[in-house]
């Protein structure tokens, strides 16, 4: 098990470094790597939302999936499974993404923003922890989305195959893809560098099980520090890299691709944290799991994509100017829906359910 601990620390460190370096290489500021933002840009690249500044099929995402897929094949960990409440997972992912679009980042970018001195991310991180705590309470109350079972072999290959096809389209600069000419979507590292970084992170994350919310969850639930070590090493290395590249700028105001509305930074990330923990992992982990053949995680990724499309087609997403009223309403509705799902999927409301769960049965 000792080798594994070194692996999680290395994985966190590599993601932390690349997360800063990719921004130096051309990705948007404080967004060298962000699963939510890059899924959103990819959604735009496919024309599923029409915010012209946020359209680019991000090679990091494609590389991540393909790297994890190859790694899972080589280590014989690729297993086509599915059937654990796919529509519920889609819904949780949808609202989780709304929360992330209101904060402007996934749990991974929360750490990268914080490591660059963006104190709004500290508020977001507090929200993330609060969301995970709430999710943990549901797990203690017997929350479960049910069991997945082995599925037909084809199921496990559709997601990686679709990813590979999208890569072919991107490499060919297919005329039906959208490419931003200005704004964050136009800012990107050279394609092959982004792809290589994604592949490397995909392999490392598949081997180490790196997960941004899993670290917080396991520490709270089990006093288990394994995943948290990846989280911490990611932050420390990203902080060092930001200092080294002169990108560290402490404060709330004027941070790149961020807003200063503390309440919605907190609530957006709390919703994202709650949804992620109920789904069994952060967006990064869902991509890896989908690459490993988990079709429920693939449906979760489609839920994230749908959330990104809705966030931009219906004016819910935040911008540097702040969070629109519709976005605030969407977060509130998201909490209501997710809490109903969580209650309905746990034993808390059953007679004596809490006592039973509390007594450890």
């Amino acid at each position: 098990m000792k080798g594994k601990k070194i692996l999680i620390v290395i994985s966190g460190a590599v993601v932390g470094f690349l997360g800063v370096w990719l921004a130096v290489a051309g990705n948007p500021p404080n967004m060298g790597m962000c699963i939510a933002c890059f899924l959103r840009d990819t959604t735009g690249g496919l024309g599923l939302h029409r915010t012209a500044a946020l359209q680019y099929v991000r090679p990091e995402i494609l590389g991540l999936v393909l790297g994890a897929f190859i790694s899972a094949l080589v280590t014989r960990e690729h297993r086509p499974v599915g059937g654990s409440s796919p529509l519920v997972r889609f819904t949780l992912a949808f609202f989780g993404m709304i929360g992330m679009m209101v904060f402007l980042g996934c749990p991974l970018r929360t750490l990268l923003r914080l490591s660059a001195g963006d104190l709004n991310a500290l508020v977001g991180l507090a929200g993330l922890v609060a969301g995970v705590l709430l999710g943990v309470a549901f797990f203690r109350g017997g929350f479960s989305l049910g069991r997945a079972a082995a599925t037909g072999r084809a199921g496990g290959y559709i997601f990686p195959a679709a990813t590979a096809l999208l890569l072919v389209f991107l490499l060919a600069r297919a005329p039906f893809l959208f490419f931003s000419e200005q704004g964050p979507g136009s800012q990107h590292a050279p394609l092959f560098i982004s792809l290589a970084a994604g592949l490397l992170i995909g392999v490392l994350a598949q081997r180490s099980r790196l997960c941004m919310v899993g670290g917080i969850r396991d520490m709270i639930m089990f006093g288990e520090s394994y995943l948290l070590m990846g989280f911490v090493s990611l932050f420390v290395v990203a902080l060092a890299a930001n200092l080294a590249y002169g990108k560290f700028n402490l404060g709330f105001a004027g941070q790149p691709l961020a807003h200063t509305d503390g309440l919605w930074n907190f609530l957006g990330m709390a919703l994202a944290g709650l949804c992620s923990v109920l789904l069994g992992g952060c967006p990064l982990r869902q991509l890896i799991s989908a690459a490993e053949g988990n079709t429920d995680s693939a449906v979760t990724v489609f839920g994230l994509i749908a959330g990104a499309a809705f966030a931009h087609n219906f004016g819910l997403a935040a911008s540097a100017k702040g969070v629109p009223a519709a976005g605030q309403a969407a977060v509130i509705i998201g909490f209501a829906v997710v809490l109903v799902i969580a209650l309905a999927s746990s034993k808390i409301l059953e007679r004596g359910g809490v006592a039973r769960a509390g007594s450890g049965s």
Partner: protein, 73 residues
């Protein structure tokens, strides 16, 4: 001593298999726990938990699944 009942944690994502293992291990008077899992992540998580709680761990392959036997030392 009676043979421990095998707990089925197949098809579950984090943290459920670990939660099942921990609840079984913490039951009063229990010194042997058997858990069936179907993925390497759950196998590693349960192994790590058991090692931290100073239980012995034996992992057997059961087809494409893993049968984990935990014994209190």
């Amino acid at each position: 001593m009676p043979e421990a009942e095998v707990k089925d944690a197949r098809g579950m994502l984090c943290p459920e298999p670990l939660l099942i293992a921990k609840r079984e291990m913490e039951k009063p008077g229990v010194s042997s726990v058997k858990i069936l899992v179907d993925n390497a992540t759950a196998r590693e998580n349960i192994t790590r938990l058991a090692e931290r709680m100073k239980w012995s761990v034996v992992v057997d392959s059961a087809g494409s699944d893993f049968l984990i036997t935990l014994e209190k030392k």
